[in-house]
């Protein structure tokens, strides 16, 4: 029974997405409750999957019972089980938030469509995490491209259309590059199944080196565009700034992280360490990651719009994750996976609390944040906690991920990387701290015109408070999750 759960999870999302249009006649509340039930059920089954995987190894499921060579295979190993739980956790919080005010800028009759897109997106996310087949990964990637672009362009505003168009074009270049890489690997080996590919590539590597090198290049560039790794990041700030707040949180917290997870899968499960070491991919990833950390932060300093600032900060944070992957050690990868979790929480908290501020004051320029700390203590408080976590203050999850990354860099005899991590954190101080200072400490004259505040629905507040608590819990008690992550990373066969 337990090996059926992965496919049941995916089918539940798909069926719900297809059922929503038929619920148009009944109250919208029913749709919301159904969505909640499905997310809850999938969470329960994912917890079951995690405990089962921890006890008895990866779960394999073959669709239609066909063998590996021609069939579709799902494989849930420990990392996949962890990542799927992380997606669910964040998705639940974002879902709770979105029930408060579906999202700014979406017309009321579009709400149902927004949830259709949301659940198809969840379906493709789970597909990408579970799929043990590169071509399936490509198909889910394309489903994800359309749904992510649509949850940006669902807001009927001019600038969302242009940024969604740019996003869909770059996304398409990325996925077609990835498909080209898959085709080159298929040409050399005749497989798209990841397990079979790994076995074949380890013996074929010297004979088909041209194919393998070009394929690796195409796949890394394709995933790099989609994960907004530094030189390919140009679509991200526009897309994040113009999207509704919940969409920005999904995009920044979950979507780009999943592409990074696929990158981990491609690097370590398909190609394997020997090929990567021969090609010296490690140095390239470390260089790209460091450049992203520095330049993302530098661009962020220059921004006037708060959501664009958060977008550029995401580029810097993706740099940390790439750096951790590039160290090619167990601790480095563990740091990356932990940072995937902690950045997902921090960035969602930031986007959602900014979403409340925008909802209440209808302003989004950084200059308008002056004195807001007294007016909106709760949402600015959560913003403050998340921003301090981004900078890497102790007792927050951001500190733990930076500490682990630093230790991993030292283990790898690359102590100079710590300087880059610290430098990037200091740049983070430059763009986050002034917002906090002006929000909490700046005195505004009593007679100054204060923005008119709208009442906030309770679910929105509840969602951001949960995120803030999670950031602190992960920061104070990181060991239980780090232990599981290290156990998961150990299955990839990296040097300690």
């Amino acid at each position: 029974m337990i090996d059926q759960l992965p496919i049941i999870n995916m089918i539940m999302f798909l069926v719900l997405a297809l059922a929503i249009p038929f619920l148009r006649k009944v109250s919208f509340r029913l749709t919301l409750i159904l969505g909640f039930v499905v997310l809850g059920l999938v969470t329960v089954s994912s917890v079951f999957i995690l405990t089962d995987v921890m006890a008895s190894g990866p779960i394999l499921y073959r669709l239609g019972g066909h063998e590996r060579l021609i069939g579709i295979e799902l494989e849930v190993d420990l990392i996949a089980a962890l990542i799927s739980l992380f997606i669910l956790g964040l998705a639940l919080v974002i879902y709770i938030y979105s029930t408060g005010d579906a999202t700014e800028g979406i017309e009321e009759r579009e709400y149902a469509r927004y949830y259709i897109l949301f659940f198809i997106l969840m379906f493709s996310l789970f597909g990408m995490v579970y799929a043990n087949d590169l071509f399936n990964n490509y198909v889910f990637m394309e489903i994800m491209s359309i749904t992510t672009c649509s949850i940006i362009s669902i807001k009927r505003k001019k600038d969302t259309y242009t940024s969604a168009f740019r996003y869909v074009m770059l996304n398409e270049i990325g996925s077609l590059s990835f498909l080209f890489g898959v085709a080159l690997l298929y040409m050399a080996t005749g497989f798209t199944n990841i397990t079979l590919l790994q076995q074949a590539l380890s013996t074929l590597w010297p004979a088909y080196s041209a194919n393998v090198i070009i394929a690796l290049g195409f796949m890394l560039v394709g995933l790099g565009i989609k994960a907004a790794i530094f030189p390919f990041h140009i679509w991200l700030p526009d897309a994040h700034a113009s999207a509704p707040s919940t969409s920005s949180a999904i995009l920044s917290g979950i979507v780009i992280k999943i592409y990074l997870f696929v990158m981990i899968k491609v690097l370590f499960k398909v190609f394997g360490l020997r090929i990567l070491d021969d090609l010296n991919i490690s140095a390239a990833l470390i260089a790209i990651g460091s450049l992203g950390m520095i330049f993302g932060s530098l661009f962020a300093i220059a921004q006037k719009d708060i959501k664009r600032l958060l977008g550029y900060s995401s580029i810097a944070q993706v740099g940390y994750i790439v750096l951790g992957i590039g160290l090619f050690s167990e601790l480095g990868l563990a740091a990356s996976v932990f940072h995937i979790f902690s950045h997902g929480m921090m960035k969602s908290a930031l986007f959602l609390s900014v979403g409340i501020v925008v909802f209440q004051t209808k302003r989004r320029k950084i200059a308008d944040f002056a004195g807001l700390g007294q007016q909106l203590p709760l949402s600015m408080g959560v913003f403050g906690i998340a921003a301090l976590a981004m900078i890497g203050l102790p007792l927050t999850s951001g500190f733990i991920s930076k500490l682990t990354l630093g230790v991993a860099a030292l283990d790898h005899n690359q102590g100079y990387l710590i300087v880059i991590v610290i430098l990037s954190s200091l740049l983070g101080v430059i763009y986050y701290l002034p917002i906090l200072v002006s929000a909490f400490l700046k005195r505004i004259p009593e007679d100054a015109a204060r923005p008119h505040l709208e009442k906030v629905p309770r679910p929105m507040i509840a969602a951001i408070v949960i995120l803030a608590l999670a950031i602190i819990v992960f920061g104070v008690f990181p060991n239980w999750i780090l232990d599981i992550i290290e156990q998961a990373v150990a299955t990839l066969g990296l040097p300690a």
Binding site: I70, F135, V139, E142, S145, I146, C149, S150, S153, K158, D159, Y161, T162, A164, F165, V168, M169, E172, I173, L176, L179, F180, A183, Y186, M187, T192
Partner: protein, 127 residues
């Protein structure tokens, strides 16, 4: 002459890569949004051509088994199946991006990237 011979032998791969590059060039450099959508299509065609031509076996027959006949050499059917999925995907992306172009035309009255960028800059300046 040897170069020409090897190109002729691998004309399918050369064509696929040429299509991919032409498409990429169109997406990245053209100002007209519809031409950029076309560029994505051309890129997609290049990749799909590459994939199908991998599966071709010289002198192979279509992989259809007829009872009573002696099976000869079959063409690998798997890449063709991949490509069917790929075609559907490219079509849906095209439909989505064309509908975005329609919305952009409604909002800005033009589908020229440069004019749109100038309009956005002007709006930001007035903000």
């Amino acid at each position: 002459m040897k170069i020409i011979e090897s190109i002729m032998e691998n004309i399918n791969y050369v064509g696929a890569i040429a299509l991919f590059l032409i498409g990429l060039h169109t997406v990245v450099t053209h100002r007209n949004l519809i031409k950029r959508v076309l560029g994505v299509n051309i890129m997609g065609t290049g990749v799909l051509l590459f994939f199908t031509s991998i599966g071709n076996v010289a002198g192979g027959e279509p992989p259809i088994f007829i009872p009573g006949s002696v099976p000869g050499i079959f063409v690998n059917p798997l890449p063709s199946v991949f490509i069917l999925t790929g075609i559907v995907v490219v079509v849906s992306i095209t439909v989505y991006s064309l509908s975005l172009v329609v919305r952009i035309h409604e909002a800005y009255g033009t589908i020229d990237q440069q004019e749109i960028t100038e309009m956005i800059k002007e709006e930001e300046y007035h903000d």
